[in-house]
Amino acid sequence: MDGLTFYSGFVVPFIVGTSVLFAVIVYKYVRWFARLPRRDKLSVRRGMFSGATVAAAWECLMESLLHRRIWRVNPALGYMHTSFALGWFLLIAVGWIETVAYLGGRFVPLQGHIFFKYFTTELQHGPRWGVNFEAVMDLLLLYVLSGVALALFKRLRSRAMGMRRTTQLRMGDRVAMASLWFIFPMRLLAESFTSGIHGSGGFLTGGLGGVLATVVPAGVMPIAELGAWWGYSIALGVFFVSMPFSRYMHIFTEIPLIFLRRWGVRGEVGREKSFDHFQLEACSRCGICIDPCQMQRDGGMTGVQSVYFIRDRRYNRLSRRMADSCMACGRCEAKCPVGLELDTLRVGSRYTLNNTPSNDRWAYARGGNGRSDIAGASLPSETAQVGYFAGCMTLLSPRILRAMESVFAAAGEDVWWADREGGVCCGRPMKLAGEVDAARDMMKLNEELFRRHGITTLVTSCPICLRVFREDYSLRGIEVLHHSEYFQRLVAGGRISLKAGSERLTYHDPCELGRGCGIYDEPREVLRAVGELAEPSETREEALCCGSSIAGNAIGGVAQTLMGRAVGRAFEATGASCVVTACPLCKKALARGTELPVLDLAEVVERHLMTAADSK
C-alpha cells in the first residue's frame, strides 16, 4: 500500500454537509416523483427508452453546464453562470481523473478526491499520463474564481451585466451565497499553503504558495494550512447543508426537470401539481424574468415578478396579491433560461388560493331546475358549415363585427353567428382567474352549442377564445381558426382578393395569439398584401403586451394606462400611420395608449376587399 490516509478532523463539516445534501435531495425527488399522476408516470416510462433521453442529456449539457440561454441574454452573465457550473464540474471531474492517474484503481473515499492536495503531499509530483494535472487544476480554479469575481461585480453593478434589476435575496440565500463565494478562495488559500510548505502546486497555487512561504513565518505555516483547509471544508459543508433550502437547489433540480420535460411531463394550466416542485426548485432566481416584465418596466409594479412569485410559492408564503399580479403575457416565460412554465405556475396558484367556500360557482349554468338558465337561450338555431364566435370583447367593438360580416359576404361563406346577441363567455377569463371548475362548465355549454349547429369550422376574432378552444375544448371534427388564419386562407385560396396599398402599417402581436398560439405569420402575410409592414423594436416572440390582459386581476387602471402608453410609443417610433392588431382587447387597450388609429385586422381586410368594380 502507498501508506496514504484520507482522514483529518477538518473533513467532518464536508462529510456532514454532503450527507445532508444527498439525503434531502433524494427524499425530495422521490417524494415528488411518487406524487406525479399516473398519466405522467406512464409518459416517463415510455419516454425513458426513446430518443428523448438522449436529447435531454444533450440539453443538460448545453443548459445546466454551458447555460446557452443565459449567454444569449448577455455574454458576461453567461460567462459567470458557466464558470460556476462548468468550472466546478470540471474541477470535480478532472480532480477525479487526477486521483486515478496518481493512485490507479485504489479505493479513495470521497473526501480523498476533494481534499486530494492535502492528503497526497508525499506523492511524486509532476505530470502523469503526459498531463500536468496541477496546472490544469489551477487553470480550472482560476476560471471559477473569475466567475466569483464577476458575481461580486454583478451584485454591485447589475446593469453592466445586462440586467437592469436583480433579485432581492432572502436570508437563507445570503448564507448559501456567502458560503459559495468563500469556497473557491478558501480552496485557493488551502492548496497554496500546502503547496508553499511542500513546494508543490501549479502556476497558481504553487505561485501563491511560494509567496506565502516567504511572507508567513515557517512555524505558522502548518497552522495556517490546517486553518485554511478547515475553512474550505466548512464553506463546503455550510453550502451543501443550505443548498437544498436555498435557490442553489436549482443546480441539481434542473437535471430531473429537463429529463421529465423531455419525457412529456407538463404543468397543468389552472391547477397545482407535483411536477411544479421540480419547476419551482429549478429556479435559480437569476432574475432574468424581471426586466422583460412590463408591469415593472412601465407599470411601476415591482416585487411581483415571476422570480418573487416562485420564491414565495416555494416557501409557502404566497399572497393572493402576488398570485394575481401577473398579466400572463408570457414575456418572462419566453426569456426564462430554465424554461419554466411561469404563467401556468401562477394561474395554478390562483386556483389553490381561491378559498371561496362553496362549489356552486356558476352553478346556474348547469341548471338547478333541470334546464340551464342560459343554454341555447335566444340563440339562432340554424346550422352552417362555418361558425363564428365573436367573443365578449368583440361584441364591444362593432366595427370588427361589421368587418367580419363584409368579409364573410365577400367570400360567399355561409356562417352561423354563435354569439351575435351575446353568448356564454369562452371560459378562459375564468380559468385565468383560477376558477377552473366554473370555466369547465362554460366550456361544456359552448361545446354543446357548437355541436348542435353542425359546424365544421369555428372562426373567432378573439385570441383569448382561440387559445381556450384549442387548449381546453374537445372539438373533434371542428377546426378552430383565428380570423387572421381564416383571412390568410381566403386570400391564398382566392376566395377574396385584397387591393394592395402603400400605407405603412405596424402590427401588434397579441400575447394570446403570438406567444400563446404561435400565430405570427398569418396576420403579417395578410398585412403585407395590403401595405408596407413596419415592425416595432420588440416583436413576435418578444412582442410587448398591451397591458390590459384579462389575466391581470390585480392591476389597476393607472398601471394599465402607463403600460398602454409605453406600447403606444413603441409603435409610434416605427413611423407607421396605423397600428393593426388582431385582438379586440388589445385594440381597446392600444387605442388608449397611442394617438395613431388602431385597427383590427378584420377592419383592414374589409377596407381592402377587392370588389367587382375594382377588378374591372
Partner: protein, 111 residues
C-alpha cells in the same frame, strides 16, 4: 316560542341599517381596489355584462349593496359573473371591476 299561529307572521324589514351593518369587509374590498370608491353607479357594467345579458345578474346592484354592508347573497350572485372583463372596458371611472368581483368572492363567501 312562536306558540300562537294567527295566520300571519311579522314581515322582515327591507330597510338597511347602517348602524348594524358591518362595513369592515366593504372597506377591505375598497382598500384592495381603491378606485372602487369612485363608482358613480352609472350601470355601464351591468348594461354590457355578458352574464347579465343571459340571466338576472345585476353587477351594479350587487356591488352597490356591498358598499352599504349588505352582503347577503352577494357571493352567490357574483358566481354568475363570467369574468369576461367587458365591464372593465366600459367603466367611466376606470375601476378594476374584475378585481371587485374577485374580492367579493373572496371576502364575502360566508354571507
Amino acid at each position: 316560542m312562536g306558540a300562537v299561529n294567527f295566520g300571519y307572521g311579522i314581515s322582515a324589514a327591507r330597510g338597511m341599517d347602517l348602524d348594524r351593518n358591518d362595513l369592515g369587509p366593504a372597506r377591505e374590498i375598497a382598500d384592495e381596489v381603491p378606485e372602487f370608491r369612485a363608482c358613480i353607479a352609472c350601470g355601464g357594467c351591468t348594461a354590457t355584462c355578458t352574464a347579465g345579458n343571459l340571466t338576472s345578474f345585476n353587477f351594479r346592484m350587487v356591488h352597490t349593496l356591498v358598499r352599504r354592508g349588505e352582503y347577503a347573497g352577494a357571493y352567490r350572485e357574483m358566481n354568475k359573473c363570467m369574468l369576461c372583463g367587458k365591464c372593465r372596458l366600459v367603466c367611466p371611472r376606470g375601476i378594476n371591476t374584475r378585481g371587485v368581483v374577485m374580492q367579493i368572492k373572496r371576502k364575502l363567501g360566508d354571507y
